[in-house]
Amino acid sequence: MHNEWSDAGQMFPGNDLMWLALVILGGTLTAALIALVVVLARLQEAERKISEKESNHESILDRLQENEYRLRTIIESEPECVKLQAEDGTVLEINPAGLRLVDANQPADIIGRKIYTVVAPEYIDIYRENMRRVFAGEAMVYEFRAITLKNRIAWMETHAAPLRDARGNIYALLGITRDITEHKQSEEQARRHQTELARVARLSTMGEMATGIAHELNQPLSAIANFARGCIRRLRSGDMSPEDLAEPLEEVCEQAERAGEILRHVRDFVRKSELQLRPVDVNQIVRSVVKFTDHEARQHRTMVRLHLGADLPKVQADSIMIEQVICNLVRNACEAMVEADSPRREVSIHTRGFGNDEVEIEIGDTGPGIDGTVIDQVFDQFFTTKPDGVGMGLSISRSIVESHGGRVRAESGGSGGTVVRFTLKTGGQPERNRERADSIHS
């Protein structure tokens, strides 16, 4: 919204009206048009004065009328909308191209009415401000969203210049307007595509990171398994005395430490990777996650129900990271229900205010729940009950939530199923930044 407003507010103040208009309008045709219109206006003015004076110079009058007629013909046939507006926004004159632009059937549909009838509500204020500046003497180019007389929504770009009478008083705004909807749409599309790409790039970085971790961890884990298996085999075949165990066990310990080191790196990465904290709408994050997990959920005959709290305050968060968390939780819920072959498969996501300064997000499912004996371990790295699980999903999720200054908890629901809740802070500094600030002082 802010961007659009500032676009519309692009202004080009000028001193010498005619020359600036020429520079700004660029196209010689448009410039010529303005010149013609200005001349026309002068002629009208002259005509008025002349008749005021009740001059008898009939021949001069004839010539003026002839000129005026010629100018009118040019303007009438001009393919772009040309219009004159009074200071209060009343449309004084408009050419046929202009009528078409606002979907008017006849001049009376728009002439005499306020231009604001075709300006989208959110642009009326800025439009007024632009008009004020033109009547203060500035030539300007501005964009706005229009709603035509037939309720068609279109983007418009207007080149506007003040019109002065012989005494130099500004009495009208001359506007040349064209429809830039198509241009705007492709611009918008490109922008959306950009943000989408950025998001995919960040998400796939997380994915790559997970694969990288899996590769890294495979090394010490394989080594540990080999050392241990080698010991067992020797013990079974009586090939080994207890003293011989010391060396391979030493190796096992070393490799376990190596695995731990890799994990510390991962946690540091999650912690340190630049969190892009912004005030974000939790409900919007939930919706976008659901959008891109929807396909997967549907494949597993799973319903995703949203119970999003109204009027939630914004939270300070990195939306990509939080998407990642919700995505992990929804995926776990789906996987649990598929694995247990639950007859009813439903994921419900609640959002609600929590305490004074937090929002709580809850992901519940109708799956098998989590066994009481392991519920304390599900957030541990590598804890998994799945044959091809990695056991990093909840661990990474917890790191992310905690780096935002929030907490996460998992419960086995009373009526079966699992409920995972986490909180996010609504304002102020998250813990991570506070820690940093502290360490700078110490």
Binding site: A214, S222, N226, G230, R233, R234
Partner: protein, 202 residues
């Protein structure tokens, strides 16, 4: 016969040591190398056994090494160790003639079974190769005339027919024939036929 050796090539020293520890538990001889290049430099192709090779290594990868060995006509059976999600690499390796692969983390029994099979295959290949070499040297010991006599004997011709066809006396053919049987260490005509077929096959 020479005791088989399991050659391990893995850039991760801890993994290489652990593999050695595991494989030695079934009393196999092990040699480890920390890179493909180190293996090329230190490998004695005369030693029987098999190669356990990490697919992913900095510098020359496992697949590169496989290619190099094939180019040098070294046919030691290779068992690749692949990481999580390296299925495509494994497929490529097997298509290029690898004996087999195991995916990390692997079951120890799986790996040891494959190693045993690879060693057996290598022994078989080496046995056949030795036989070929031996046959070739036996045939190389015959004079051109003896070669001619042998070919006709194998075709089932009688001494008289051979004598006729070569323009020799039956007595001379008889002498050549005895010489051939002796040089080829054959006790019967059927032995000669077998050796001759094997030689042609090899």
């Amino acid at each position: 016969m020479n005791e088989p050796t399991v050659f391990i090539v893995d850039d991760d020293q801890a993994v290489a040591r652990s593999l050695r520890w595991l494989i030695e538990s079934v009393r196999l001889k092990v040699e480890t190398f920390s890179s493909a290049q180190a293996f090329i430099d230190g490998y004695d192709a005369g030693k029987p056994g098999c190669l356990v090779l990490d697919v992913r290594m900095p510098g020359m990868s496992g697949l590169d090494l496989q290619e190099r060995l094939a180019a040098q006509r070294i046919h030691v059976p290779i068992i690749f160790i692949t990481g999580h999600g390296d299925v495509q690499m494994a497929v490529r390796a097997v298509q290029a003639g690898a004996f087999d692969f195991v995916e990390k983390p692997f079951n120890d029994q799986d790996l040891l079974d494959r190693i045993q099979k690879a060693i057996a295959l290598d022994a078989d290949q080496r046995g056949k190769e030795a036989l070929r070499v031996q046959l070739r040297s036996l045939f190389a010991g015959l004079t051109p005339r003896e070669r001619e006599v042998l070919d006709l004997v194998v075709e089932g011709l009688s001494n008289k027919a051979i004598a006729n066809s070569l323009g020799l006396s039956a007595k001379t053919v008889e002498v050549h024939r005895a010489k051939v049987m002796d040089k080829m260490q054959a006790r019967s005509v059927s032995d000669l036929v077998k050796l001759s077929i094997q030689n042609q096959a090899g």
